[in-house]
Amino acid sequence: MTSAAVSVDRLGGAWSALRAFFFDGMPALERATEALASVEGAVRSAGDGDRLILWLLGTATALRYSRRPEPMEVGLARARELVNVVGRTQDETTTVPYRTLVEGVYRDLAWVVPSEAGAYLDQGLEYTERTMRLAKRAARDEWLAQAQASRGDLLLEYATDRRSRRRALTAHEDARRRWPLRDPYGRAQAAIGYGGALLSLGEATRAETVVRETLPVFAQHDRYHQAAARVLLARSLYAQDDSDALDEHAAALALYRALGCRWELARAETALG
């Protein structure tokens, strides 16, 4: 077996492990991260732009979910490198989906490093300005949807008053209108942010409806996002004084525990205040 074949298998294995993370949890993420790290040299020296892009995308995504500041900073650097590589080798407007990955890492870093949250959110929001311009220039609904949802997430984290929360909701509503129906999984992931924005404005019933729609989408393949959706559902029910909130909360905690996602578990434990 040639070394090229070995590296191809490892990259494929890394993607399988990354996919498995969303159902099996942290051991799969560790496998993905190790496999991606082991092929870095081969991928970078091969001179295959497509493989480099796939590797950067996988590495940035895997490190993002580590929920540890240092690997996440490396993930941010990889995501920015990805944007540069795609911008250099393709049209700059095609960087929109990768720019939203960079923004997502900024948002997550603001969660994981609360002492630096302001700085990360500032950088993330500044980054969204160009993303929005590029998405409008590309005039593709699916990219505008991604750009708006990502901006909505950052605006919501940054929001301090009702007016700024309303801006976040408006961005999410626009994203939802534009999100292609052929992509129920992506739509469901974005719906978690949308539901959060609704809840922040006291619209608990609408948030409940939105988040309930996502549960069948995640049920079979994605326990990670299912847990996030159940946390939001618990918060929505709690805001309506519905005692089912406690059951949903317990279900979400059990999922995070089963996945071995300790950071998410700790965050979810305080979700009901």
Binding site: V8, G12, S16, V86, H221
Partner: protein, 149 residues
């Protein structure tokens, strides 16, 4: 002069229509191939359906490779090399994939056989109707009923 303008306009429109047709044809091919590939990070969606960054990139790779003149088979083989055979929306008809292909028709045949047997055999609850009473039995029944009254 007017005729020259008409000719130029006609040529321009013909060129525009041809360019649009080629672009549309390439996009159709991109999505046709994308429908044969599963998005490696999405929940049961094909690359054609997903809006994830990875699916977007995979569609871009398909587009580039079609423009380079690669065939559908070559492009699909490239993705199998990157992600393994589970990237295929339809399992290959060999190895474990062949087992799936054979299992489905076999399961269908067994299902049909069971259904046929089930339909032919009378259900436990559906007993045949009792025969009509003889004149003597009918008279006995009538008498019993009169006594009950």
């Amino acid at each position: 002069m007017r005729r020259a303008r008409f000719v130029v306009a006609s040529l321009f429109l013909t060129f525009l229509a041809a360019t649009t047709a080629v672009a549309a044809s390439t996009e159709d091919q991109v999505y046709a191939i994308a429908r044969e590939l599963m998005c490696p990070v999405c929940a049961g969606q094909t690359v054609a359906e997903s809006n994830s960054a990875l699916a977007v990139q995979m569609r871009q790779i398909i587009r580039e490779r079609l423009q380079q003149g690669q065939t559908r088979e070559e492009i699909i083989a490239y993705f199998v090399g990157q992600f393994g055979e589970h990237v295929l929306a339809t399992p290959p008809r060999r190895g474990a994939g062949l087992l799936i292909w054979l299992t489905l028709p076999a399961a269908l045949c067994v299902g049909l056989a069971v259904l046929r047997r089930f339909v032919r055999r009378p259900r436990d609850g559906a007993r045949p109707a009792p025969p009509n009473p003889t004149p003597r039995e009918a008279e006995q029944i009538a008498r019993k009923l009169r006594e009950m009254d």
